[in-house]
């Protein structure tokens, strides 16, 4: 995307510019949080409540 088209799309109208900032913040925060949570649950696999719950529901004892 050249700067020309970026200018036409985003920066030309102030209302669109402000709107794109808000939308960008929303999208970034959501994806960032999802990414961090995904990393967290991968890194802590086996220690999380979801793992305990899974074992409880499947009646699985004695397994790590």
């Amino acid at each position: 995307m050249s700067f020309q088209s970026l200018y036409k799309l985003v920066f030309r109208r102030n209302s669109v510019f402000i709107g794109s900032i808000f939308l960008g913040a929303l999208v970034f925060q959501t994806t960032f949080d999802v990414g961090i949570n995904k990393f967290w649950s991968t890194y802590n696999k086996g220690k999380l409540w979801d793992d305990v719950k899974y074992k409880l529901e499947n009646g699985d004892t004695e397994e790590e």
Binding site: F39, Y43, K55, L56
Partner: protein, 307 residues
Amino acid sequence: MFKRQLFQSTKRFVSTTTSASSSQKSSLLSKMVTAGVAFSGLTAATLLYSDSTYSKAMTAAEHGLHAPQFDWPHNGPFNTFDHASIRRGYQVYREVCAACHSLDRVAWRNLVDVSHTTDEVKEMAAQFEYDDEPDDQGNPRKRPGKLSDYIPGPYPNEEAARAANQGALPPDLSLIVKARHGGPDYVFSLLTGYPDEPPEGVTLPAGTNYNPYFPGGAIAMGRVLFDDLVEYEDGTPATTSQMAKDVTTFLHWAAEPELDERKKYGLKAIIILSSLYLLSVWVKKFKWSAIKTRKIVFNPPNTPKRR
């Protein structure tokens, strides 16, 4: 007048060391001062030395043995609690610790999706009775516990707790891990650190037990965890250290339920701030590049030759 006095007094003060007329007097004074300093210094040293031969100040006996650092599963910047351990730890708390210790700041709802399912917690809460609104005649009523209720303690108030424990108050365990130096390491060491016999030469006050990790060594709580005291539902062997580890993990969670969120926010903050820092470095280089790379050329004016 005042100025003159001030001047004189200043002069007198200076003269104590410089004036020849009072040198004899000042040397006597300085000898006395030196003697006084030496005397008080020697006295203090003697007292300190004699004190150190029997005193227990600043020793392991006074402050408690320093707990070793254990490799907890939740140590480290990205690690959460071992939630299976929290679940077992609640069982140990309920079956052992709850006989004396309260857990005032933890509500039943806090356990949901941490160590138990909603239905399990509802069932656990319903086994306890709470005060309800009075009926039409104004008689007090009781109702089963709800998720929003806080976990009830074993005693109605502090006096009852002291009376039941020979004057010693079992501390509330909600924040005990944060409230003790050494945190979970201390709690674990304390629970597993009871020797069979107190060491020789240790005299304990009545109703106390010896524990080297407890400051002072004499703790009112006796050893409570013994092998196979509880039976874990997930089949984990209930050794003393296993139970101590589980209950310490549970208490650490109770003291610090925000641990997950805290560590996640830390990670996010580090990522965002370091990228902003790198961005600012780039912007600085970009903005300065014109200034840094400019060339200053000096063309000397043509001066006519003199000769």
